[in-house]
């Protein structure tokens, strides 16, 4: 019958061996065509959405900065905190490296843990000394 039933046979592991090489080739090419098309379409949609997202965010950010400069402080602070953290790690790394006369490229200090709020609700219990900071 038509191509659809060809693909149906093609999908069935028991029937595929009855197909001629030509039919197999035909069906395979359909799979390839469909597959590459879907892959390109999917990633192109993502491409478009990323560009839209970036543009919208840039706009919003500019507007936000103008209109509500105050309310932006909180997220900025959050970002600063992170930067701080990176800075902190960088400083410590440099210090240790200096004292060892080795390049910082090969050392990662990753365990200077700043107390962040990302402990679970149950996790913050018992660390009461720093609670005032957070609230």
């Amino acid at each position: 019958m038509d191509k659809l039933s060809l693909l149906d046979k093609f999908k069935d592991p028991n029937l595929i061996h009855n197909l001629s090489d030509g039919d197999k080739m035909l069906a395979s090419l359909q799979v390839m065509f469909l597959g590459m098309t879907v892959t390109f379409v999917a990633l192109c949609i993502l491409w478009g959405l990323i560009i839209v997202m970036s543009k919208m965010l840039n706009k919003t950010e500019k507007e936000e900065k103008k209109v509500v400069e105050d309310s932006a402080i909180k997220p900025e602070l959050a970002l600063e905190k992170e930067d701080d953290e990176e800075e902190l790690v960088a400083v410590i790394t440099a210090a240790i490296a200096a004292s060892l006369q080795t390049s910082t490229h090969n050392i990662i200090v990753r365990n200077i843990t700043r107390v962040s709020d990302s402990t679970p609700v149950w996790g913050r219990m018992g660390r009461m000394e720093q609670m005032n900071n957070n609230y």
Binding site: L34, G123, M125, G126
Partner: protein, 379 residues
């Protein structure tokens, strides 16, 4: 070829929204929860996995919750994770991690705080009555009431045993309200206390010895489990975690229980609890009722804690600041922090935090006890 393409297009989730239009609403709800968790910092460690679970489960044809086939065909990933909730395995493991992170010192130093941890469970039972009168079954009403216990794992444990059909809505409500404690509690606290009461300073707590801290988890497990055998699993694991911490000889186990293990289980539990919130299960009048009843439970529990604290203050001759009563709902440690902040606003030199931690951890025990009663009656 054209037919193949049409067939392919009909297999996409875009097309699937025709059959499941309400899933779009659920995905939107998931995004709102993600926004609250990430931008507003509401319980992100649980809301991010829960919200992502809601997101994934409502993608049409993605079959994330497809059950394991009778002849062994692989099911959906989140269905496998969900088995840990359904069989009651994940919540006790999370409780073990919680125990390993909890310091019961303030409660041992001031055991009267246990009364406040009991009083705050009043919200559970009033909400139970409300739920019954609103047409829920006893099992469902018990699961809804426990939201007022302000303890996520307990709520999930109870709901998975008594009313699995409501699990998604109850979990979302429980964690959302836990995150909203700093907004829900202060007005109630101010309404029920006078300025003088809020300004009361409390005596410093006595130091607690290591032996007391080691014996405490054993005694609690023994007493609570003998009184309420169905609570043994939750209380036992909570106290085992605490014993790992306090014994001083099992630091490795305490460390793993409160880090790698609790994190792994949190991911699996959050995702799979969220995944129960499909559009069919969630977008019902029941869910709206649950959300309303949940906030009622919180409010009544807070009020009951504050009122008992006022009475205790009277009886003790003014030595107890009633603000610590609200911490009895648990929601550790946010409720205790709220007591601290509200108290400090009245009197900047007042430090209630340590005193509020007593009722706060007592509230965890209290809601496990209440859950035990519910399981005992309706299990």
């Amino acid at each position: 070829m054209v037919q193949t393409i049409i067939k392919f297009l009909q297999s996409t989730g875009f097309y699937g929204f025709k059959d499941y239009p309400l899933n779009i609403v659920m995905i939107f709800i998931a995004f709102v929860l993600l926004y609250l968790a990430i931008k507003k910092g509401f319980e992100p460690l649980l809301l991010v996995p829960i919200a992502f679970g809601i997101f994934l489960t409502n993608l049409p044809y993605a079959n994330m919750m497809l059950p394991h086939g009778e002849h062994g065909q692989p099911g959906g990933l989140l269905w496998y994770f969900f088995q840990g909730d359904e069989l009651g395995i994940f919540p006790p493991i999370i409780f073990m991690g919680v125990g390993a992170m909890t310091d019961f010192g303030p409660l041992i130093a001031n055991p009267r705080a246990l009364l406040l941890g009991a009083a705050a469970q009043f919200g559970i039972f009033t909400t139970f009555i409300g739920s019954i009168l609103w047409g829920f079954t006893g099992q469902q009403a018990a699961s809804i009431g426990i939201i007022g216990g302000a303890d996520g794992p307990t709520a999930i444990f109870l709901a998975s045993r008594l009313a699995p059909e409501l699990l998604g809505a109850i979990a979302v409500a429980a964690y959302s309200y836990m995150a909203l404690v700093p907004i829900i509690q202060p007005p109630i606290m101010k309404l029920l206390t006078t300025k003088e009461e809020r300004m009361i300073k409390m005596d410093q707590l006595r130091p607690v010895s290591k032996t007391e801290k080691i014996l405490f988890p054993i005694i609690v497990t023994l007493v609570v489990s003998l009184m309420l055998p169905p609570a043994a699993t939750l209380i036992g694991m909570l106290m085992l975690g605490n014993l790992f911490k306090e014994s001083g000889v099992t630091g490795r186990l305490a460390d793993t229980a409160q880090n790698a293990l609790i994190n792994i289980i949190t991911i699996l539990l959050g995702l799979s609890v969220g995944a129960t919130a499909t559009a069919e299960a969630f977008l019902t009048a029941q869910t709206l009722k649950i959300i309303f009843l949940g906030v009622l439970a919180f409010g009544v529990g807070t009020a009951a804690g504050v009122i008992l604290a006022k009475i205790m203050n009277k009886l003790s001759g003014g030595k107890i600041n009633p603000l610590i009563g609200s911490a009895g709902v648990s929601a550790v440690p946010m409720a205790a922090r709220v007591s601290q902040v509200v108290g400090q606003k009245e009197n900047p030199s007042n430090f209630l935090l340590m005193h509020a931690m007593g009722p706060n951890v007592a509230g965890v025990i209290g809601s496990a006890v209440a859950a035990g009663v519910m399981l005992s009656l309706f299990g």
